[in-house]
Symmetry: C2
Subunit: 296 residues, 2 copies
Amino acid sequence: MSAAIINGKQIAEEIKFKIKQETDHLKAERGITPGLAFILVGDNPASQSYVKMKEKGCNEVGFYSITEKLSGYVSEEIIIRLIEQLNNDPQIHGILTQLPLPSHIREDRILGAIDYRKDVDGFHPINAGRLLLGQPCFVPCTPLGVQELLIHSGNYPSGKHVVVVGRSHIVGKPLANLLMQKNERGNAIVTVVHSSVKDISLYTRQADILIVAIGSPEFITGEMVKKGGIVIDVGINRVKDNDAKIGYRITGDVHFQSVVNIASAITPVPGGVGPMTIAILLRNTLWAASRKIYSE
Amino acid sequence: MSAAIINGKQIAEEIKFKIKQETDHLKAERGITPGLAFILVGDNPASQSYVKMKEKGCNEVGFYSITEKLSGYVSEEIIIRLIEQLNNDPQIHGILTQLPLPSHIREDRILGAIDYRKDVDGFHPINAGRLLLGQPCFVPCTPLGVQELLIHSGNYPSGKHVVVVGRSHIVGKPLANLLMQKNERGNAIVTVVHSSVKDISLYTRQADILIVAIGSPEFITGEMVKKGGIVIDVGINRVKDNDAKIGYRITGDVHFQSVVNIASAITPVPGGVGPMTIAILLRNTLWAASRKIYSE
């Protein structure tokens, strides 16, 4: 039997539909248009394409958005000054610095400069800390998107053994913290493994829910997955492909072909976690504009 | 064969000896005496006894300390005002609010009011967030004490499967975050389980290092432990005992008698994690006074 495909694109569309409705309402009732500012440093093609997709999302739901493009040689001070301007701009409710930043820029300094109430990416230490502590906060978009995917597809993590492969600041660690919380959306048994673990399949094979965010194309194969497990593929890798028009194809961190016959449900790449990340970014921005998380 | 006993008391003494030396140095060279303020609300006997032990620790290493005792009926505003005074007091480098607080007081509001640079308990969201993100911060005393115990006893967590039983804000969650970090003191495969997990021994029996912080007397018994595993008992439970002079005895979360013949190393209660918690509190305070973590 072949696994059910978890359609992230469709679930994301449903979430965006609700965001659009609430945005119309927010405009009509309170005269507020959610505003999101993107900071794009340098000319990384993947970053450019991500920002473009996020801008498109803003248009779809009726947000105001601006993109500040900076040279790859810009100083930290210039970025900080820009962030301070955006922090003080009443039209802007969310600020997103597209990662990665050039190596001469200290990422933690930049992310820490964003007003935590406008930190719709959830990377400010205050939001990360409130996540760990189980307090209301802006949760990073991909981890929260994964949680929503699980819930919308009826695969509640509560009481399940969730194995997270990868421990990045952006996905693995916040996701582990999110799913181990004592609440009806979390409450999982959570294991975090990483690329330097010797016999990684010892852990992945135990997963009722396996979430892979390791950044390595088709790393997880069928024999590493529990029969009937649920597999969430967070990876977005560009792999050289001379047959493809653009010279590469997009693959996940999961070898779909071999896993689809073992798992009971699986997300595709593209069309799985990716669209959810954008939908959650928009929802976080709506919540920033409507002061749902932080009242002041 | 019987497990080696990890002598937390002795390791704590070694750490305190170094703190005393560095404190003498800090006084002589820079004229700074580390100062720690305790806030004790109500008359919980366990809290009173903990604060007394911490005050004693301060005396041993040559710190200045004060204890502000407040009635159990005090308002949040009064506590906040006291914290603001202490935040601005140049003689005070660390502020510790003894938990638990009475139920009418919002713990998160109180802990969030402490200047994060004086938050030697590591409970402020900024410190929790920096912990999750792997940035320098004040780490909660018990989790950091457990990590030090492991390292000082030669049981490095790197590459090991660490199973944490319990997911409190104070121990389980920060400990999991600490040990999963990509550095030579962490780098473990970490699983967090909790009391509502059905077959908890399925997980505890896999642990190369089992850390128990569930607040339930003698919860972990021999058959729940991996042969040759290392067992760290964070529990401090008062159990009624009519044979004891004081009417109770202190037990851990681990059934020592049955585990000592299965594990290769184990911490006793008392004399294991408890003394480490105090030693780390003192070290955090020294680091606050010498501005080791936060330079301003």
